[in-house]
């Protein structure tokens, strides 16, 4: 009887984490507000007033209310399935996102690896979208997205490895985010640890690539291939891509905060949620907004060689340092 009760309560909490906090509602609102701030700050850097803070909400509502056209030549199933793929991936991922001081994700689980596997899902969704829409621009976007994904996943894997080895110690690696947070509580945040600094910089450089913002917006380059895979999408399906992108923003930033700055402050969970959000915001302003405003788009081969040269090397340095320090 108690088994059933605990099972129900477990799945109830699971549902809560999936739908309300940190996934679902919270992440959605937070992601959209982050996007709003991003656009506002970018506008200010360009001497503009910029859109209202809630503009991403308006855009979503608008898109949802519009007619959704499915091109006749497209593979209909794949075309409709693609946006959902990214969305569900991100929704699951968000339920596992620890908010230090409030929520620690799953018990004793290599959840860092889960993140590594789930984070590229929106990119894969874009690839599916591009290939199913039967437009040559979609196809080109598909090939670009794939090259780019290969480019930025390498440094991400090395960053994860560096962090895991630093925590694991003695030649082993620890992939549980809960353990990583606990380790940093004792030994200080990795963001301030000399040996982890290269990995942190590598992660900063990884962010614009995974979020598809300049200089790495090659797959959706408007002036080259007309937003590539998204070219044929409209209405509700496009709204799903936007939602996914907002959720991915929270995950990518939150993941970075957890890996490098998981410190908490005294006070209730509410204070710690605000603290977490503030750190995400700061990370976004540096890694995405400023980067977006200050750079031009790279060619795909330039992006590829950039990622394999700099962030990968930096992350590798951290891996070696983590290895040596033991």
């Amino acid at each position: 009887m108690s088994d059933i009760f605990s099972l129900i309560s477990q799945s109830a909490t699971g549902l809560f984490h999936l739908v309300v906090f940190p996934g679902g509602l919270f992440a959605l609102l937070f992601g959209l507000v982050l996007k709003g701030i991003d656009r506002k700050v970018e506008a200010r850097l360009q001497r503009r007033v910029g859109p209202p803070l809630l503009q991403p909400f308006y855009d979503l509502v608008k898109l949802a209310s519009k007619e959704t056209i499915i091109p006749e030549t497209a593979n209909k199933t794949l075309f409709m399935y693609a946006p959902l793929l990214g969305f569900t991936g991100m929704a699951v991922c968000l339920a596992l996102l620890p908010v230090p001081g409030v929520y620690y994700g799953m018990e004793n689980m290599g959840d860092m690896l889960v993140f590594f596997y789930l984070l590229p899902l929106p990119a894969i969704a874009l690839m599916v979208a591009g290939s199913s829409s039967s437009s040559p621009f979609g196809a080109l976007g598909f090939s670009r997205e794939m090259t780019l994904m290969f480019a930025y996943e390498v440094p991400l894997l090395l960053v994860i490895l560096a962090v895991a080895m630093q925590v694991g110690g003695e030649g082993s690696a620890e992939f549980s985010l809960r353990k990583i947070i606990e380790y940093q509580r004792e030994h200080g945040s990795f963001g301030f640890t000399l040996s982890m600094l290269p990995a942190f910089v590598a992660y900063l450089l990884y962010l614009p690539g995974t979020m598809g913002v300049p200089p790495f917006d090659v797959a959706e380059a408007e002036t080259e291939i007309l937003e590539g895979p998204l070219l044929e999408y409209s209405g509700g399906l496009l709204a799903f891509f936007q939602l996914t992108s907002a959720m991915k923003l929270v995950i990518a930033l939150g993941f970075g905060v957890v890996m490098f700055f998981p410190g908490t402050v005294a006070g209730g969970p509410l204070v710690n949620i605000v603290w977490f959000a503030a750190k995400c915001l700061l990370l976004m302003l540096v890694a995405l907004t400023l980067c977006k405003a200050a750079t031009a788009r790279m060619r795909i081969e330039q992006a590829l060689s950039f990622y394999l040269k700099y962030p990968a090397t930096l992350a590798l340095v951290s891996v070696v340092l983590a290895w040596v320090s033991l």
């Binding site: 007033v49 209202p52 503009q55 209310s65 519009k66 959704t68 937003e227």
Partner: protein, 158 residues
């Protein structure tokens, strides 16, 4: 329902179709859309690269024979509800090109235009007024006040 449409019209995405214009209006559209001085983004506008994402479509040029079918096809790709704005005198009446052998305009022969912004080219502020007017028509259409549902607004090639 009213609140909902109120939110919807705060996000008018613009799409530009050049139907054989002399560039004047297009340059002014680019100016209006992008530069800090006019910054239409503060009105929620955004230029989009795909007709499938558009809400308000801005047409320039006198609609030349060669570009006609392509313009109509692109226009049809824009999902409903959409508002069409003719920018400059060329799409409205043919302007100085009136009577040319390859001019198919005025554009309202083929496409139901909602707003006209005459000028050669119109000032960016004037274009902005046109976009605001288009927004108002869009709102009326969402609230069912203004006519213009899909069935009444079909396009046919001659």
């Amino acid at each position: 329902m009213n609140l909902f449409s109120d939110i919807v019209v705060r996000s008018p995405w613009l799409y530009r179709i050049n139907a054989g214009s002399c560039n004047g209006c297009d340059v002014e559209l680019a100016t209006t859309a992008c530069i800090p001085r006019y910054d239409v983004e503060r009105l929620g506008c955004r230029y989009c690269g795909s007709p499938r994402h558009a809400d308000i479509v801005l047409i320039t040029g006198p609609l030349t024979l060669r570009v006609r079918d392509k313009v109509l096809r692109v226009w049809q790709e824009i999902p409903e509800p959409k508002v069409t704005v003719a920018v400059g005198i060329c799409p409205i009446s043919g302007g100085v090109f009136r009577g040319g052998h390859s001019i198919e305009g005025p554009i309202d022969r083929y496409i139901p235009v909602d707003v006209n912004v005459p000028g050669c080219p119109p000032r960016p502020q004037s274009i902005m007024e046109g976009v605001l007017l288009a927004k108002k028509i869009w709102l009326d259409r969402l609230n069912g006040i203004a006519p213009g549902h899909k069935e009444e607004r079909h396009v046919s090639l001659p």
